[in-house]
Subunit: 212 residues, 4 copies
DNA sequence: TATGAATGAGCCTTCATTCAT
DNA sequence: CATGAATGAAGGCTCATTCAT
């Protein structure tokens, strides 16, 4: 315990680490299956098959089926929100900021496609869970970052004076919908899609579209 | 169907008519309840409560719970597709056509919000039903109308030469997403939202944004 | 509905009545099985076998396994409490009242042996149910009737001045325990047991035992 | 067992002793938890929490959950039966013997309240265990000691000629029931309750109540 | 048409116990 | 001795659907 071989840390993870790792594995597998078949059409037995654990063994890693939805959501909202905050802190021009936010969002959707799919399809199921308010708060914060970017652009006179919430929703709708059709390894890369959409959107709201 | 029997009393509709009417009522009520609570969270008993019919009586009007999803979808896709076809037939300029399509789509979403909500959330459930291919075909046709409008604009040199499918999806995403937040009787009318979004989108894709 | 054959009432009970009747049947059968094997050792399948209803059909008559415990208790506490109240209202002498209460209690235990057994063994399970406070109240009221009878006897100088609650508990313990061994159709009748125990108990607490 | 090896250190008990001691500790803790929540409502995890041992470690000390019930029972029936035998051997007068037996029983209930509670509530669970016949035999022997005391009193003409088994059961019921309400550290001591109940009972069955 | 009792498959979850480490 | 991951059977309950009335 006192003297541990230097190699031990990586070669033989402590049991707590292994537990944590297996847990995330289970959550990701669940995300994949839920994304494929839907939450309600997936039984605990299906998850048992997909993970290789027996019905009862699953419950070492999860608190219940519904809890999985919450864990799945956290997997993608947390890094996204962190990135968005970081972008907002940079104090770039509204155009640049919007472009960066779009890139981050499309990338997050591409990286966590299963999780995003599950969330957008099944969020209603966890509406009554105590964790829902945190999830909602995170979502609101992300939306507010976009809305305030749009507001700032309007105040600075570079964006047209549009209703900021409606505009934000148009932006979000356009980008969120990519979860339905964007293939991360397809001909059109996530970054290209983000660029294309931001181009359209910026030209659409800029006072001087040539700046896009 | 065309000629109604002379004996039909108008004051007391024939039983076949009453049946038909009651059936549509049931489908609309189901749409409302499914939209509120979700398909799986709604039991036949819930529908029984909502319709005032008893569990068994319900089955005189519906073939089963899943069939309701199909009926619900038909309620909104058919008039929408019809309108879209009619717009396409008019052979307006691409800009005008896109504007009309947006108006029609937002209006349809506002008019059949419950149905749209149910469809977007639960379509996966009927993926295996034989009717699914019809639904999918209708959807594809609607998308194709938009895509070909964009293509035409590009060919005519009024729209920028963008990937037509990606652009169509951006357009659809922006507008479809309104089902989540648009209040048909709110401060901002569906028509105003359609106008605003089309404005942004057209400016975004027009070679000469001033034409928007 | 207006003119009903006189015979209909008994020969063809209305559906609501049949439901009620079947429900009580189910509760009584459950009491028997619970009394035999214990609540936890009895599965819903066991009840299904015992009632002849299928697993799901049972749930037309009961709200759940635990609810049965509550219904079972009501079956015997309500008539007993009613009788006890009636006896208390008669304002007999303390000796006579105690004798009548003992008779009523032993008879209730004999009549509802299964129910009493289940309650005395399993009451802890429903301790947290909302109905528990009603059950507890009923029990307390019954105990209070006995305690106040003893108190009255002491005040009138016919009973020795004993601690009324402790004495009441001795009385209750002696009689309640009969559920474990008294055979309603055995050599010694419930009435005889009640008489015998009341004799012992009254001699034990009377100032002048000869009055017993 | 009688002679301990000279090498045994007193300061550091041999591992066999520690094992034994830990085992009894576990049984007593289980008795407490079972008494509080009931056998079935207590999981092995609950026992794991209460003892501080992990799930697997517990099984080094116990053979299984059910075995605990048997061990719990032995904890209180054996000293009680031993005391009862000793009292019976003294050949006191029936009145004195009954008084001593009551004292012993109430004291045992007060000392082993958890164990008594568990046994009276959960004995049915071990009905099929091979040890059950021993437990039953011990119980019968204890009852027989009381019954034969009552019989002897009747034969000697000091007790009224009552049915000995019924009378014994009245006595047992009155006293056993104390497990439900007697607080060992309350205002009324176990000894006082025993005295009070024996007083009532003896007056009740003595030919000449003045002797009580 | 309408009723509602009955079905029976299936679901999520719990839990005592085992065993490799 | 101790751990805790894993097992797998069993449990209570829900629910879409059927059918005799």
């Amino acid at each position: 315990m006192a003297s541990k071989p230097a190699t031990a840390k990586t070669s033989r993870p402590r049991s707590a680490e292994r537990y944590q790792q297996r847990r995330e594995e289970v959550v990701d597998i669940a995300a994949r299956v839920f994304a494929e078949r839907g939450y309600h059409a997936t039984s605990i037995d299906d998850l048992s098959d997909a993970t290789g654990l027996q019905r009862g063994g699953l419950y070492h890693y999860i608190g219940g089926k519904q809890e999985l939805l919450i864990r799945i959501h956290e997997r993608f909202i947390e890094p996204l929100l962190e990135t968005a905050r970081e972008i907002a802190r940079r104090q770039e021009s509204p155009e640049v900021e919007l472009r960066l936010l779009a890139q981050a969002l499309v990338q997050d959707i591409a990286d966590y496609r299963d999780q995003v799919t599950v969330f957008l399809h099944e969020w209603r199921i966890i509406e009554d869970a105590p964790e829902w308010k945190d999830i909602r708060k995170a979502r609101k914060e992300f939306e507010e970052i976009i809305a305030s970017c749009i507001r700032r652009g309007a105040q600075e006179g570079v964006f047209r004076p549009l209703d900021e919430r409606t505009t934000m929703r148009g932006f979000l709708g356009m980008i969120n919908y990519t979860y339905q059709w964007l293939n991360p390894r397809g001909r059109i890369t996530p970054a290209a899609v983000a660029d294309s959409f931001v181009d359209i959107f910026l030209r659409g709201i800029l006072v001087d579209p040539e700046r896009a």
